[in-house]
């Protein structure tokens, strides 16, 4: 045929385009990497974990090592690249860890102790209050509501969220609030992993202004 060679080249062009469009990311496929050896971290990357020792093997030049993409620590639990800090270690900068443990079920011994003895180490000023407000909005307001009335969108579903400015909740001391943020109380779970002690004291300062409102 006259047009046979033209048809062939046309088909070739379409194939090239189709092949190239398969390089882009889509759904479960992250897309073709241009320079994989420069994309994948050799040191442990905290938030990625590739446990397959042969992943990216087609890139490796030496035969006796794990493959190019392998990034996981076999000595850690679950072969993670992250570890929890060793127990009883203290962060270099910042406040000392909080020592009062969580009360056993039914007891309020440490809660009462904290309520009576703990004092806020942070000064009472605008900056601390603004910081506390930001932290409160991010971590507490989903349940406790913007003004501490217990009417946050999550609180409505979670149930049993108190109003800071009513009843005995308006009387709670700074130590009490700090202890509850750290260890939880009643239905509230502990927030120690999300806010560090200094941040907790900032939140306490802000919550105290919510307690005083009418």
């Amino acid at each position: 045929m006259l047009y046979k060679s033209e048809l062939k080249s046309l088909a070739g062009c379409i194939l090239v385009v189709a092949g190239l469009s398969a390089c882009s990311a889509n759904g479960d496929y992250p897309g073709t990497e241009y320079a994989p050896q420069m994309y994948h971290s050799v040191p442990y990357e905290p938030l990625s974990q590739i446990t397959d020792e042969s992943a990216g093997g087609w890139l490796s030049s030496s035969g006796n090592q794990t493959a190019e993409f392998y990034n996981s620590n076999p000595h850690n639990p679950n072969r993670m690249t992250m570890r929890e800090p060793a127990e009883n270690t203290v962060k270099r900068a910042g406040s000392l860890p909080y020592r009062y443990p969580k009360d056993t079920a039914g007891s309020t011994y440490y809660l009462d102790l904290a309520a009576q003895t703990l004092r806020n180490p942070l000064p009472e000023n605008e900056e601390i209050l603004a910081g506390g407000r930001l932290l409160y909005d991010n971590f507490c307001s989903p349940c406790h509501g913007g003004a501490g009335a217990g009417d946050g969108p999550v609180g409505e579903v979670y149930k049993g969220v108190p109003n800071f400015s009513a009843g005995r909740y308006a009387e709670m001391t700074e130590g009490h609030i700090f202890h509850v943020i750290t260890h939880g109380q009643g239905r509230m779970w502990p927030y120690a992993s999300q806010v560090d002690p200094e941040e907790r004291w900032k939140i306490v300062r802000y919550v105290q202004t919510l307690q005083k409102q009418q």
């Binding site: 882009s24 889509n26 992250p30 969108p153 969220v161």
Partner: protein, 449 residues
């Protein structure tokens, strides 16, 4: 078999009698349960409490004894209830403590007073009901409340009012439905199906017009061809001066088609080549069907709540299961997706979320630097995450994309002495605003080292 056949009729004859007894018992109970106003309290779910109650209850409680039913008392009671009791009690469901609907009928008012004022005292006195209650609710202590008798009575008045006149509360599920309906209805005036039908109808009409026009031309041509009194020039036009096949075979036309084809092909190839190494649109399936639209959108949980590192560290962090459990110890516990959280906790095995944003290792990016210091919104790079059911990579994450932002973004260096002299120098030399590129935002080693 014959034995059963024998007794059968006997039982049947007894049945009406049994019915009568049942009816009588029921009526009697209803009469007991009726309060002063003669209102029959609605059936309230009391599954947990019913178990404790002795079988011969309801006891003749001093019905409405001392419980006021004035508006003021109910309002005061509502305030006190919301301020003090709501944390652990709801009217119709078990929260931390039992549901309180109908409490004034279940227990004597004196007992309630004593329990509210000091529950431990009542339990230690050996009161069977109190001890059973204490054990049933995992020995959770109800703290003592310093209420006066009137205050407790007003709370009881509120509870009684709520028991007798249950309010249809808007459940969150209904709210969601409402939102979704509003969303789909309000998006565009006409639905896409409707639009497609209109377009198809238009196309059909246009095609019909085309056919009619062609027919008209043919008829006219035929008519003109039959006429003999035309000059040769006109005749040429009538007989089809320009043939389609001539146009198709003409060199300029072929050249134009080839040019069009080659340029489209070249553009497609180039575009696809530029997509190599870019993961924009990557939307992997996650081990748990977590919806950002629900959590960040509907429930307005701040990104920082789960991504705790975003203000402090290089990585924003993927939350560990304990953060999920802050709410899901209670919320939606039956869902199979939430059950995956529980099995992760039980087996102490982290959930392996699939990482979506894989910035190449050759570039350094720090969240705290951008979010905390730079004040960049999460949505600037991650898109409208609060509307994503399943998260995908919104931005290109290419160098050009980074650099472009560094070129355009203005910096607020106020209150940061470190930049004071630089800002002064910058303002003396140029009238342009102080941007990221002016503090080294285009230096190679800022991101590549």
């Amino acid at each position: 078999m014959s034995f059963i056949g024998k007794t059968g009729p006997d039982l049947k004859s007894l049945a009406p009698v049994a019915w009568l007894i049942c009816l009588l018992l029921f009526n009697g109970m209803e009469a007991f349960a009726q309060d002063g106003d003669g209102n029959v309290p609605p059936a309230v779910e009391q599954d947990s409490d019913a178990a404790i109650e002795p079988s011969d209850s309801p006891q003749p409680v001093a019905a409405a004894g001392g419980i006021p039913d004035s508006e003021e008392a109910i309002t005061q009671g509502r305030q006190l209830f919301n301020g003090n009791c709501k944390v652990c009690h709801a009217i119709n469901e078990v929260v931390v403590g039992p549901a309180l609907a109908g409490i004034h009928e279940r227990r004597p008012v004196e007992w309630i007073h004593a329990f509210v004022k000091n529950s431990q005292k009542v339990i230690q006195s050996g009161d069977t009901y109190a001890v059973n209650l204490f054990n049933q609710y995992n020995k959770t202590q109800m703290p003592p409340f310093n209420f006066s008798d009137e205050e407790i009575n007003s709370i009881l008045a509120y509870i009684k009012n709520e028991t007798d006149n249950p309010v249809q509360a808007n459940s969150p599920a209904e709210a969601v439905d409402g939102n979704q309906q509003g969303g789909s209805g309000g998006g565009s005036g006409i639905s896409s199906d409707y639009l497609a039908i209109i377009v198809a109808a238009l196309l059909v009409v246009l095609l019909l017009v085309l056919v009619v026009l062609i027919l008209v031309v043919a008829v006219l041509n035929k008519y003109l061809g039959q006429r003999a009194d035309l000059d040769p020039a006109d005749k040429e036009i009538v007989q089809g001066g320009v043939k389609v096949s001539d146009i198709v075979k003409s060199r300029p036309f072929i050249a134009f088609v080839i040019f069009l084809f080659v340029s489209i092909l070249a553009k497609t190839v180039l575009d696809s080549l530029f997509l190599v190494g870019i993961q924009q649109g990557y939307q992997p399936e996650q081990p748990i069907a977590f919806s950002h639209k629900l959590h960040a959108g509907q429930y307005q949980i701040n990104c920082n709540y789960c991504h705790t590192g975003v203000y402090k560290a290089k990585s924003a962090n993927i939350p560990s299961v304990n953060i999920c459990m802050n709410c899901h110890n209670t919320i939606k516990t039956e869902s199979p997706e939430i059950q995956k959280l529980y099995s992760a906790v039980e087996n102490n095995k982290p959930i392996e979320w699939v990482r979506i944003h894989n910035l190449p290792d050759l570039a350094y990016f720090n969240h705290s630097q951008h979010v905390n210091v730079g004040g960049v919104e999460c949505q600037t790079c991650h898109g409208q995450i609060q509307e994503m059911e399943v998260v995908y990579q919104h931005a290109e994450l290419t160098m050009g994309w980074c650099i472009n932002c560094h070129r355009e973004t203005e910096i607020n260096a106020e209150g940061n002495e470190y930049y004071d002299k630089l800002v002064k120098l910058h303002n003396a030399n140029t009238g342009e605003p102080f941007r990221v590129k002016d503090i080294g935002g285009l230096e190679c080693s800022k991101c590549h080292y």
